[in-house]
Amino acid sequence: MKQLLKAHEGLTHEVYLDNENSTMVPKEVVDAMLPYYNKKGYGNPTLTHKPGWEAFETIMESQQQLSKFVGAKILEELTLTPGETEANNLALMGAAFALKSKGRKILISEIEPINVLHVAEMLQKFGFTTSKIPVNTEGVVDLEKLKEAMSKETIIVSISTVNNELGTIEPVKEAASIVKDINPESVFHTDASDAYGRIPVNVQDSKVDMATVSSYKILGPRGIGALYIKEGVNVEKILEGQIGTQKLWPGVENTPLIVGFTKASELAFQNFDGNVNRMRTLRDKLVNGIFNELTDVKLNGATGEKRSPDNANISFLRCEGEALTIELSLSGIYVSSGSACSRRLLQPSHVLVAIGRKFSEAHGSILMKTTRYMTEEDIAYVLEVLPKAVGRIRGIVGQTGVD
């Protein structure tokens, strides 16, 4: 690994576009967190001394703010968890265990993130049945199929607000209404991690019962997220241990991370329209530039208003994705690919396959997400490097990858 890192020495420009998988944390967020490691609020919030009370006060204030950002009526509707994965596990498993006497059917879209998909599949071992609702070629869930699949036996439906790979905005409001009309006792969950900070998210605007949000998806620290659970909706805990301020999540609260998540949310929402426009402008420049510079490229996912403003997912035909990510990294551009190359399973992204992409198209897919911190110069640099990188990899392929 050291040699790999050494090969990057002397880079003059770096552009981080892999904001799907982790992000840089802005200085102002880190600065907000640091005092809570050793200056104040470093105590356990459930104990009776000053550092504990400070922690309690800070967590409650943060939770109050976060509740407002998602539209929760009271802060108790929010459960802080160590992230999106944990929140989605809690939502599906916790609701399944609480509702098992009412029915055993679970519905999810076929493009849900792995931390919903695998949990829903795992629950089949406990007597639940999981079905997947198909999506169209843009990745929009088929509401007619949802209506057909929905029954009185269905207890949980989970559909993301924005798909994490494609950026496609799902008709969650309509989906939740369909679900509730057929079985008012079912619960509707949405992973809103990729919507939060990008499109308006308010749990009061629809009939959703549970919604997941994540800190690192909005440039906050990793290791913290939250699950909104509407008051009155029954969810069981899925972990046992010391219960503190979070009734559904045991363990000692991580006050600095909670503060960081709150600060990151504040920054995302204090100039929401400006932030979104910036992401969209940069993203559009990036995508348009790629389509102008290169042939044999395909945009994966929806266009226009149906797409999240930060997401660019493009398949470069005759160009294997892992090779391209390495080539770009050596020039200081950091992206990820839906290629299967590092997995012996040889299965590319299930999301790209679900929208009807050929396997070879999925192997050449690159996912990029813009942030408000990026500049026009960053995009110009990517547009200068990317065509050369694709050209070199395609040169190695020759006629071999043509199918």
Partner: protein, 169 residues
């Protein structure tokens, strides 16, 4: 999305950046392909073989990851100047892996596929001549089987894709 960290060696990185013997050979004696783009893993070898059955020159094209490119490149260097018999017997996937300074275990199949492609080329050369030397076993070797296995998998994948394609139309 791929999740396994891949600590490639300096040699793999060097060959990825500057592959040796890259490109189609117009006057190749034999051409062999292994793998399938559906698997994101495919190699073509072009061999120039003289009358003494010595590999005078080998070139490649590769659709695959950095390890695929690097192993294909090193194989062209390793087999150059060897007799077909020595290339068959001595160029094993383990040696290929050693030559690139080691590979992450999930990438071993890249070296196996590269050797499988060479063996396929040699077998094809003798099939075209109509005589098979006794050092070429009737049964496919482990490396050749690997190539076949990947291609079979690609077929299964394509079948499943037909369903997806119908959706697209």
């Amino acid at each position: 999305m791929s999740r396994v960290p891949l600590p490639y060696t300096q040699k793999v990185l060097d060959l990825f950046r500057n592959p040796k013997n890259l490109g189609k050979m117009e006057d190749a004696t034999v051409v062999a392909v292994a793998g399938n783009p559906a698997c994101g893993d495919m190699i073509t070898f072009y061999l120039k073989i003289n009358e003494q059955q010595i590999i005078e020159k080998a070139t490649f094209e590769s659709y695959g990851c950095a390890a695929n490119i690097a192993t294909a490149s090193i194989v062209t260097e390793m087999i150059k100047g060897l007799s077909l018999e020595t290339a068959w017997k001595d160029v094993t996937w383990k040696k290929v892996t050693e030559e690139v300074g080691g590979l992450p275990s999930v990438k071993f199949h890249c070296g196996i596929l590269a050797v499988g492609a060479v063996k396929r080329a040699i077998r094809k050369y003798f099939e075209e001549k109509g005589t098979m030397p006794d050092w070429v076993p009737k049964e496919h070797t482990f490396e050749e089987k690997q190539a076949i296995e990947e291609e079979e998998l690609a077929k299964t994948l394509s079948k499943r894709l037909k369903v997806a394609e119908e959706k697209q139309s």
